[in-house]
Subunit: 349 residues, 3 copies
Amino acid sequence: MWVRNAWYVAAWTHELGAGQVVARSIINEPLALYRTQDGTPVVFEDRCCHRFAPLSMGRVEQDDLRCMYHGLKFAPDGRCVEIPGQKLIPHSACVRRFPALERGSWLWVWMGEPAQADPALVPPSIALDDPGYCLKAGQLDYAADYQLIDDNLLDLSHLSYAHEKTLGLGAPQWADERPRIIGLERGVRVQRWLQNQVRGYLRNGTFDMWSTYDFLVPGIFLLRTAWYPVGTAERLQLKPPADPPLFLRCDEQAVTPTTARTSRYFYATGARSNDITPPQVDKMFAVVEAAFREDKAIIEAQQLVLDRDPQRRMLPTSFDAGPTQFRRILEGLVAREMAPAPPVAAQAE
Amino acid sequence: MWVRNAWYVAAWTHELGAGQVVARSIINEPLALYRTQDGTPVVFEDRCCHRFAPLSMGRVEQDDLRCMYHGLKFAPDGRCVEIPGQKLIPHSACVRRFPALERGSWLWVWMGEPAQADPALVPPSIALDDPGYCLKAGQLDYAADYQLIDDNLLDLSHLSYAHEKTLGLGAPQWADERPRIIGLERGVRVQRWLQNQVRGYLRNGTFDMWSTYDFLVPGIFLLRTAWYPVGTAERLQLKPPADPPLFLRCDEQAVTPTTARTSRYFYATGARSNDITPPQVDKMFAVVEAAFREDKAIIEAQQLVLDRDPQRRMLPTSFDAGPTQFRRILEGLVAREMAPAPPVAAQAE
Amino acid sequence: MWVRNAWYVAAWTHELGAGQVVARSIINEPLALYRTQDGTPVVFEDRCCHRFAPLSMGRVEQDDLRCMYHGLKFAPDGRCVEIPGQKLIPHSACVRRFPALERGSWLWVWMGEPAQADPALVPPSIALDDPGYCLKAGQLDYAADYQLIDDNLLDLSHLSYAHEKTLGLGAPQWADERPRIIGLERGVRVQRWLQNQVRGYLRNGTFDMWSTYDFLVPGIFLLRTAWYPVGTAERLQLKPPADPPLFLRCDEQAVTPTTARTSRYFYATGARSNDITPPQVDKMFAVVEAAFREDKAIIEAQQLVLDRDPQRRMLPTSFDAGPTQFRRILEGLVAREMAPAPPVAAQAE
């Protein structure tokens, strides 16, 4: 199940150099990415219209992309502008172009109706080179449907078990207490206090931690973890804090379905520049990557079990509020995309 | 084609240690195996009822097994006894449990109706630590339907060709003479004399050898090879011998279908303790494993040929009496399992 | 789409030694190849009629082939002539035999009606040991439908782009000018002049080159490249030359569909013995193999793109005349093979 009218993360911006052509797949659509001379990203379907050679094996020539099988050349709008040895270029000689833009440090592609590609729908994220923050970035490929990764991120109770020795270290609260979940237009907000937490590897002492994240269509996870003195949660009666925290951790992640059973997971972790040193970010990042390997192992195994008997119903529990609420949002968007266009009203005579 | 109401070998008993969870597959059902504190084997379907993570990635806690994705815990009877952070445990929260027991050195699992899991149906086999015998054990995975391995064991004529340099060395009789085949309730018994055999690697001299094996549902092969002085077969007019043999070789094997196109083959080979030394068993075992590699090569190739044209009919020959008779037994058992339950007789008024 | 009534290249003749059994696949039919004592090639379907073990795992015994599972033996005409331990050999005990012969240095197999296996239909090719030529041979496996390789060879315009640094070096004419295409009974002839060509690695200087090849069913490519003094093409008004060339390069290639999505590509390259030294042939051959790796990369990628959306129509261009004309010939032959046999005319009374 895929929303088409959404911005998907195709790459970290630094992955697409000048003169390069990069092959990607999003919602099972193979894409060829390149930049024009001024750096603007161009995203084509990865198939020459002539004999279907992949354009990602092509060559950038100024602002254009040339297929390197028989030499057809395409302009950034997808029109064929050259067929060697042939004067007439038929009108149908073109490849599909997808709207694309860069925002934060991600290269985003709109997979649906180009007319609806509203840049305002791009979720906010912190650029890796933002001087206010110190972040480290990575990525990981999954052999699993992106929805299982979304589910995982929408229910952090698994930190107590799947990550009991990494992210969930000594924090049974993740599983034992349920967070507050707030509906957003294209996602959900998940919030909770974790009281009396020890995180010796960053700061000595014990803290109350305010964890809040937005999870946005199609799978953008923007987590802030704010540390406060012990007692703050109780004093606020578990309401959201307004004061600036002692420490602010940032985690930015994007889940991109590449095919029905594969996904790419982009992530950055870090904190405010004043809170942390690069070696500390390295340490945090190592814990994060260890945890992601734990997720990958269990989610890929879960996918195999699911595929053996796709009709079987899962047992609902109180863990599932976040995943369920988000899935309804996705289903609503997909249903709207599938709906027949409304009839044009008859003009008054 | 699988009989469900049968005991299948899941493992050598030494493969399942205390505190361990082991993943297995039998007749295409993924299973999670563990032991309670007193050592009793427990076999569950390998799927948590919540989000379908494999229980084989779980953790043994006393007598229970905990799923390590979100923490649900299951008792040895399959009931869920804990959902972290949730008081009510719904009745439907359980996983399927399969009857299991240990007998000889094999861990057996009953894949059908638990009510019919009669321990008396477990085929007899010699334990690896039986002081009366000196045995060596191994196992092998096949990319083939278990029935092709059953067929192979039910027609030893192939020893003369497939194993002409290993097990069948210098014995064209395997192919040139047909054995006596006796029907059993859940299998067949196959017997023959091989006269004037030279087996220099164990004993110098020439012998008459009485070969008899039971082949039992689903694929249990229990072979005894008894050596007698030359002339014994003729004196007995090829009837079964009653006298104790000079040497008694034992081969115990079990074929377990893991999926429709994969199987696991468990085997032990040896002789009475008085007949043999451990180095001689090692030598026998090396020959056996060489022969099994020959079988594996030809059977896996045969499977590929079969799958190209599953409708094509094989040519019947007089070799096929054993395989044919056993396949009828399997088909009969499967048909009985598939049959609708008989209507309950109306009570006499 | 496969023509059955055609000679396919199964192997270089030197690949099938005396006493050897070699497994091949042609148009998705697995084959077992061996030689009788006088060297005659015999080609069987690769499946024993008894239990479907592959005959390519068998043993050559004089003129016969024995299956090494249970020992059935087959004569060169495919009849079973021995079943160990069984006197009666049923009439149905036989395997399919395919007509086969050696011509040039290729071993050819006829995949259709044996009665129509006319040796006159074998395309001509130069033997590797022909003293008039100096050739070097190789082969390559493709994960692609053979028709994509045929298309590639039938439209050499791709030399300018796919091979711009190897075969097409400095020759935009391949893409910028269209060749003359002449229909043949079972193929097409493609001819063109390339004027003012520099081929420094073989001869210093500049030449007019006459390129002509026959491309014959199912995928036999016989190319001659004849070098003439600059000005020859113009003097002949681009008509075919009659004079002997300064240099004559020969390329002989055969594309064999092994399955629907795999192919084997056999090739030899060289020139007349007087034109070239063996080290020069080695150099030519290295360029050819580099170019074939380029083809393989783009064609295998093209296959993957095609398979994602098999209904999608390619954009016709003026490049495609050769591929289109040849595909019509193939389609015509296949249609004729599929047609019901004509009714036998009623005899005049």
